[in-house]
Symmetry: C6
């Protein structure tokens, strides 16, 4: 992964920050398993498993803590 995919943690809105947290969570997976075909197959499994979805939401929540702090919580 030599291309730039994370130039900054700063986003314009909280919602864009939440979506960046999703990107970070997925990248964490992709660095471990880079094969898109394997990922596709696994995705269709865990997207139908309640525990897996909660676990995914937890990783997003942890990454969102980082992004939100970076943006000083988008306080005006």
């Amino acid at each position: 992964m030599s291309d730039t995919w994370l130039p900054s943690l700063i986003t314009e809105t909280p919602q864009a920050g939440f979506e960046l947290a999703i990107t970070l969570s997925r990248k964490g997976v992709r660095y471990t398993q880079p094969d898109p075909e394997v990922l596709q197959k696994l995705r269709s499994v865990y997207a139908n498993d309640a525990d897996a979805l909660t676990a995914a939401s937890q990783v997003i929540a942890i990454n969102f803590q980082t992004v939100a702090a970076a943006n000083n919580y988008w306080r005006k």
Copy 2:
């Protein structure tokens, strides 16, 4: 999800902040599994599973950390 669902992390009260943390937790799930019918089916399963409920409460707790910090803990 092109509509705005997270304009701000600021809430008037701690309780509204806790409810926003619940929203964030659910959104984390929905970004991974957007099909409402699948979600409905999964919900009826994990809402009757003690471990799944504890896991859900944990994601809420993590998101509440973010929301509470954003609101400076609603200190007067």
Copy 3:
């Protein structure tokens, strides 16, 4: 849950803060499964399961981080 159950994160003592963290952890469960009869039944199961008790203690620990920070760690 339209009634007020979380007017503030401020408590007089660390121990009261820990108990508030327990309340937050339980509320996280109740927002997902509001039926008290189901909760009662699940409770008797996980209260006898070591892993479930550790998981419950973990959610309390996460919520206690929030409450303790809100109270500036009850430093004099």
Copy 4:
């Protein structure tokens, strides 16, 4: 649990803080399962289970974050 068991988060040393984190972790369990006989039985199970021990260590780590922050990391 009406008696006072957590008068303060302040400890003299990091090690005493770590031990307080252990107390907090155990209290999180006891508030959910107060029966000492049940706890004793569960303890002998999970103390011989690697995953349960790692999970216990994780709860201690989370509580130690709180205690360490409260003590400003025992910096001189």
Copy 5:
């Protein structure tokens, strides 16, 4: 492991910081299981397991919180 592998938490970019978080996550594993052959075998298992990949992404997320804070979130 007497050689230096972590001279600093400071990185030039957020992306380099994320990659350092991956290094930290892997080192956490290697300190517990140093045998590269065992690690290789385990890797081929968990890289094809959705839950294991989410768990790996979570450890990266936690380490990224540390690295991002160390770098003051790469704010200009």
Copy 6:
């Protein structure tokens, strides 16, 4: 465990801090299961289990957050 094993959270380098985080993680286990023979046996099991290794790495990551903050991230 009446002897002193944690006199300070301060370390000279980030790497020494990471190694202290490993010590903290192991101590969290040992306070729960002090018998070295049992620990030895469990260790040989979980050191060959991918999920257990990831879980161990996660506890280290959480403790490293504490140690890194204590050291102000070893910023010059």
